[in-house]
Amino acid sequence: MPFGLIKFGLSKKYSEPRMFRKVEQPRDAYDVVIIGGGGHGLAAAYYLANECGITNVAVIEKGYLGGGGTGRNTAIVRSNYLTEDGARFYQKSVELFQDLSRTLDFNMFYSQRGHFTMAHSPASLRTQRWRAEVNKHLGIDSEVVGRDFIKKMVPEIDLDCGGHQPPIHGALFHPPGAIARHDAVAWAYARGADRKGVDIFQQTAVTDIEIEGGVNMSGNVGGRVVGVHTDKGFIKAGKVLSAVAGWTPQIQRMVGLRTPLTIHPLQAMVTEPLKPWLNTIVVSASLHTYVSQSSRGELVTGGSLDPYELTSTRSTLEFAEGLSGHLMDLFPFLGDIKVMRQWAGLCDMTPDFSPIMGVTPIKGFYIDAGWGTWGFKATPVSGYAMAHTIANDADHELIKAFNLSRFGKFRLVGEKGAASVGH
């Protein structure tokens, strides 16, 4: 019996306090307004308050905490990316995640399982080797492994896919690959921010952003932020962070900024709870499939993006059919196991599969977007880096490569090979 639980049994009355205050009405002005109460926005608020000494912060959330991508992803954390900029950034996230339960005093069930990206062709194995070499150079634990090793670690897998698919030739193995309880990450950051005085408003929508100056004579976007309009009134703020992922196009229209984001749905599904058997995270890029078993026993599984642009979170039968087929290609005995629920989230995709972060041409307007299918794993580091970026009004070292301006300069950070499915 862990000591932490004894207090519940011994106290007569349930004495746990609210994790986040209920603030009815925003103040007239804040130093920083964060749009979006998902993991990223809340983490940014937390680090602003706890590391940058900026506590006069409001988080404005249209729905509820962690209701977007934070609560819809398949909760995989890893850092075996392809570019130096990407790998360093996600590695910092892994490091923050590994200590996050203690830092925030909230058990997020951060569970290191080991992460396999199966290669069904020599070409796929080449890409895995590329990732492994970059990773190793940067001190990230990552290795190309053969069939025997895979079979030892995942004895249930059918390496030959029953003849339905090309056989597995090998895999990229990333021992630090982990899963976590995704909602808890948002809640824990919310509580941590709230304790330092950050005001969090749920069910509050930003309706417009007030810019002074705006578009200049030559048509370039510029000016500076002076506040946001919400359905609870105008809030004055010199610094505004947009951390709304799939809803970024709506926010960017308010400030006149252009980004190359496209919005696609990404679907996932979950089975009935099963006794633990799958102890690793299994990804097959060729089959567009990834699967892990949650601590509740459910198989949590997903595939690739829906191939069309759409701002909708409906599910499709075709997705469930295709993904089920691929699950059985890998684990042929699952035919009688039942799928309980399927759902979808929105992904703000970038051309190079890396995020858009940092300062913008509008003074005081910061963007944290382009989270596509890789946003959850970056929650701590994006909050951390954005907080410092906002505090110093300059891009933090870790995210310099991700600035929006890279598209105009063709300085892309190509992570397609590492991010398109294997997230």
Binding site: Y14, M19, F109, R129, H137, E321, L334, G335, F410, G417
Partner: protein
């Protein structure tokens, strides 16, 4: 089977067919037509499973598939739903979630620690110190989960099929059958699906809500009429699992998935009875009144000997009459409503007339257990208390009534999962205390109890209305949203109690049986700030279990609304998602039919020792076995033979496209970077295509066959996507072009080597002389009697001819060439890769990546900057103003070098600065030139021939190579 009743009208069981099975090692008997849980109940097994968290004894509660604890395993399958799976002879069943068997489940110990495990306790412990979490996690994972997988199970292989109908009616009860008949009489083709074994729905087990047997003959007559109707196809034991827009549905019948498209849909899905929350409300023997009625009517089982009925509506009295009918002693009806608030009904009067005690304005405070600890496996009695003015039970004035069963009839909620998915929006009616359809999309209809219509006569009328409407609007839906569908048949009195939830200081009172959540858990979660419905769901996990909250969500919303002092409508509901009930992965997966493509010469290759490999959707020869030679020796030998003599390779997987029409040249001019409009007929040119960001995405060869007809080759793996992209551009640009993807219609092969002209000349009349048919020429002519497109190419660096012929002629030509002598040998893809590497020809996506632009790949010469436009041109112009960051170069090692050699994708390292400065894209450890060679991306500073570069290989050793100018081999070069 001592508690089977005499034959019941409409019963599902077939008494002539007795089935033997075992449960937890005990021998049992049932009938054909039983579900597993009914057979268990008939054998006196009140306890069927253990609960998820506390491992409390649980019995059948819903008899409708909403009990996560009623899941079993037969050793092969797991999580078998006892309420939904028909009994089969010889089954050996066990409960899934126990340690040491159902009776002696050791994990019941967790209940003793439940006071230490409030809602979300796992977020508050186990993480300090960090190194101990894996231990805790292991323990927690072990107790989580329900059934265990069997990794030896053979893969399922169920087919799938498609179905169409005019009107789909979901639910075969009174309103559904009525709707089906009305629509079918109007000429519509109707499909009627029901998840039950037989039609009839609640008309059969609930007597239509009008006690006295008047309904049963009518139900039987309706069933007969429906089954005989030529326009109605009935599918029982079939569940509509999910609704996916435009009336696209997945139907699951226990054997396979049927995908169905309907023109309009009637949801006659009925209602799901909801629990009351009181102390020990989960003991085996406490069940929904509808569960008791199902046991009695469908399976002819006497549910209790002595019962107490908890009523919050008139249905409780009807259930009481049903119980009395089969000889159950009803000790009391405990009615949550106060005498003054209720208009007496026929059923109430009849119950009172039998002398059964009725306690108005009272509730059950707790059910008393038979047995103690983990052996609390039944009900001994109930404690009944009066309700005070605040709707709370006054525990000081209690009365204990002995009984062995409790039937709970306190209200219903629409079976609405599919309706939500179809776009129906519900509002909570404060008078009726239930959700009602408010906004219903066009071509969607809701009928019967799901529509708030309860009296059976009204339900038939409501069904008729919906059926007529559905038949009348066929194909006329345009997505607009209509108003609600109340035609006056909706119940005027509440059939649900507004708050059948009662606190208990000592005993657990469950709200979510799946997840073992009791009232206190909700109060505590709310106290911690999880005070909206979505956060409450995620923090407490209410509704996230196998039943997806079908008998938990409504009460959880009521609790939250009360805690917040808000209405139900202000509180809202969570989103309903597929599936209605969980569905097998195997049925979704189907037969996993992934066809592979064979070239016309496939069998020939196999007969001649080819080792085949998967190349996308194709099989291709990697190399041909040659005696006892190693793979590497075979490949080198094939390549050497091409250099010295003659080889033939199957290129049928190449993308082959005809671009025709007045704008064909102009189209290619825009699509690719080079000049094609001015190309002479009979010429060919290397072509590279970029995306809008200037990244190389495709390459191939464009041949001009006539004024307005071009023949284009594309990469095997890229052609499908590129053809789509071509079609898109043709539309965007509005050009007069016809695009034909002839990849599968044509076979292709490359006859390469110094002797190729000599051999080919013997098979064609086409003049092959260098003047008549120069390098990079394309001709059409007869080869070996076959009409062919002939292209003089140099991909492998030798004199060579690509021959493209109709696919059905491919093998014939191949064999004629092989027979033509001159020592010709086939060569595989690996030899071709080596030969092209020696020529310095890059392969898109092998030597390039997702960001490679032409200058980096050193094919800037292929960009025609004098053109007004090509895709990616603008980006190239921007990029060319910046410094190059990398360049693709040739690399080689000395002949006789014996040090370590890299694999493809090993990195070029600047050891002094410990920086990554490049990557090997292609490497051949042996070549026809006698030394190892390859291509690599390197920093432009290192791109000058003669520069030495260091490549880190496996194990960390360094391999030093020299940058060289391409090509390695000075042969007939295709590009440039």
């Amino acid at each position: 089977m001592n508690n089977r009743l005499p034959k019941q009208a409409g019963e599902w069981i077939d008494r002539s067919r007795e089935l033997n099975f075992t449960f937890e090692g005990m021998s049992c008997r049932g009938y054909q037509g039983d579900v597993i849980t009914s057979a268990l109940y008939a054998n006196g097994m009140r306890m069927v499973g253990r609960s998820f968290k506390y491992h409390r004894a649980r019995g059948s509660y819903s008899m409708a598939g909403h009990d996560a604890h009623a899941m079993l395993t037969d050793g092969v399958r797991t999580n078998i739903r006892g309420d939904q799976v028909s009994l089969e002879s010889g089954m050996n069943l066990r409960a899934v979630n126990t340690a040491g068997g159902l009776k002696r489940d050791r994990l019941n110990i967790t209940e003793r620690f439940s006071r230490f495990m409030p809602v979300g306790f796992y977020y508050k412990a186990f993480y300090k110190p960090r190194w101990l979490f894996p231990f805790h996690e292991k323990q927690m994972r072990k107790v989580a989960g329900l059934g265990a997988i069997n990794a030896n199970n053979a893969p399922t292989n169920s087919p799938k099929d498609y179905a169409w109908c005019d009107v789909l009616v979901i639910g075969g009860g009174g309103s559904g059958m009525s709707a089906a008949l009305a629509a079918a009489d109007g000429g519509a083709r109707v499909m009627l699906v029901d998840e039950g074994l037989k039609l009839g729905g609640s008309l059969v087990w609930q007597g239509g809500g009008d006690h006295g047997g008047r309904v049963e003959p009518l139900a039987a007559a309706m069933v007969a009429k429906v089954e005989a109707h030529e326009n109605i196809e009935v599918r029982c034991s079939t569940m509509a699992g999910g609704y996916y827009g435009d009336h696209w549905m997945g139907l699951f019948n226990g054997e396979k998935l049927t995908k169905l498209r309907a023109k309009s849909v009637v949801f006659a899905t009925g209602v799901i009875e909801q629990p009351a929350v009181f102390g020990n409300n989960d003991l085996p023997g406490v069940m929904l009144a509808s569960a008791a009625q199902r046991l009695m009517r469908l399976f002819a089982i006497k549910p209790f000997e002595q019962a107490v009925v908890l009523a919050g509506n008139d249905d409780g009295y009807r259930a009481t009459l049903d119980l009395l009918d089969v000889g159950v002693v009803v000790k009391a009806v405990v009615d949550l409503r106060r005498e003054d608030d209720v208009l007496s009904t026929d059923a109430m009067a009849q119950v009172r007339a039998t002398g059964v005690a009725v306690r108005m304005g009272c509730g059950i405070y707790e059910a008393q257990a038979r047995g103690t600890g983990r052996d609390r496996i039944g009900v001994a009695g109930v404690v009944v208390c009066p309700l005070n003015d605040d709707g709370e039970l006054d525990a000081k004035r209690c009365e204990t009534i002995a009984c062995d069963g409790v039937a709970v009839s306190v209200g219903w909620t629409p079976n609405a999962g599919l309706l939500y998915q179809s776009g129906v929006r519900f509002v909570y009616d404060d008078g009726l205390e239930q959700l009602l359809p408010d906004v219903v999309p066009a071509t969607v209809f809701v009928a019967g109890r799901a529509n708030g219509v309860y009296a059976w006569t009204d339900r038939l009328r409501d069904g008729e209305r919906a059926g007529l409407g559905a038949a009348g609007c066929l194909g006329e839906g345009n997505g607009e949203v209509g108003e609600g569908q109340d035609v006056g048949g909706r119940s005027k009195v509440a059939m649900s109690h507004g708050y059948p939830i009662f606190e208990h200081p000592g005993k657990k009172n469950f709200v979510d049986f799946d997840e073992d959540l009791h009232l206190k858990d909700f109060v505590n979660a709310h106290q911690e700030g999880y005070d909206n419905i979505e956060l409450m769901k995620r923090y407490s996990t209410v509704g996230m279990g196998p039943s997806q909250g079908k008998i938990a969500n409504v009460n959880s919303v009521r609790i939250l609304a009360k805690l917040n002092g808000k209405t139900i409508n202000e509180t809202g509901t969570t989103t309903s998602r597929p599936f209605y009930q969980p569905v097998p992965i195997g049925h979704l997966a189907g037969r996993r039919f992934h066809p592979m493509r064979h070239t016309p010469m496939h069998d020939w290759h196999k007969q001649h020792g080819a080792v085949m490999f998967h190349a996308g959707a194709w099989y291709r020869p990697e190399f041909y076995r040659n005696g006892s030679m190693s793979r590497e020796d075979c490949i080198l030998s094939e390549a050497m033979h091409v250099r010295k003599s003659l080889g033939l390779i199957d290129l049928s997987t190449l993308g082959k496209l005809f671009i025709c029409g007045a704008d064909a040249g102009a189209f290619l001019e825009r699509l690719y970077t080079g000049h094609f409009a001015s190309m002479k007929i009979g010429k060919q040119r290397y072509a590279v295509a970029l995306d809008e960001t200037g990244v190389m995405i495709e390459d191939g060869v464009v041949s001009r066959l006539s004024e307005d007809r071009y023949y284009v080759t594309a990469t095997s793996s890229g052609v499908a996507a590129f053809y789509r992209e071509m079609q898109r551009w043709a539309l965007v640009w509005g050009m007069d072009v016809t695009l034909i993807n002839a990849t599968g219609q044509y076979a292709a092969m490359n006859l390469a080597g110094p002797k190729s002209r000599e051999v080919l000349a013997g098979l064609t009349d086409v003049d092959l002389s260098n003047d008549a048919f120069p390098f990079l020429g394309t001709r059409e002519g007869m080869v070996a009697g076959v009409q062919a497109i002939m292209m003089r190419v140099g991909f492998v660096g030798e004199l060579g001819y690509e021959l493209h012929v109709p696919a059905n002629m491919g093998l014939r030509l191949w064999e004629r060439l092989m027979d033509a002598g001159a020592g010709i040998r086939p060569f595989g893809v690996e030899a071709q890769r080596l030969l092209r590497l020696e020529m310095g020809h890059l392969i898109i996506s092998h030597d390039t990546d997702a960001l490679t632009h032409p200058d980096e790949a050193d094919i800037g010469w292929a960009l025609a900057d004098d053109k007004p436009f090509y895709v990616g041109q603008r980006s190239i112009a921007v990029m060319r103003k910046q410094t190059l960051e990398r360049k693709l170069v040739g690399i080689r090692w000395e002949a006789g070098y014996s040090g370590p050699l890299p694999e493809e994708c090993h990195l070029v390292i600047d050891e002094v600065r410990h920086k990554m400065v490049g990557r090997v894209t292609s490497v051949a450890h042996r070549s026809t030139l006698g030394y190892a060679l390859g291509m690599a991306f390197v920093h432009p500073d290192m791109a000058r021939p003669g520069t030495k570069i260091d490549i880190r290989v496996d194990g960390g050793a360094m391999s030093r190579a020299e940058v060289v100018a391409l090509p390695h081999h000075d042969g007939e070069k295709q590009k440039g």
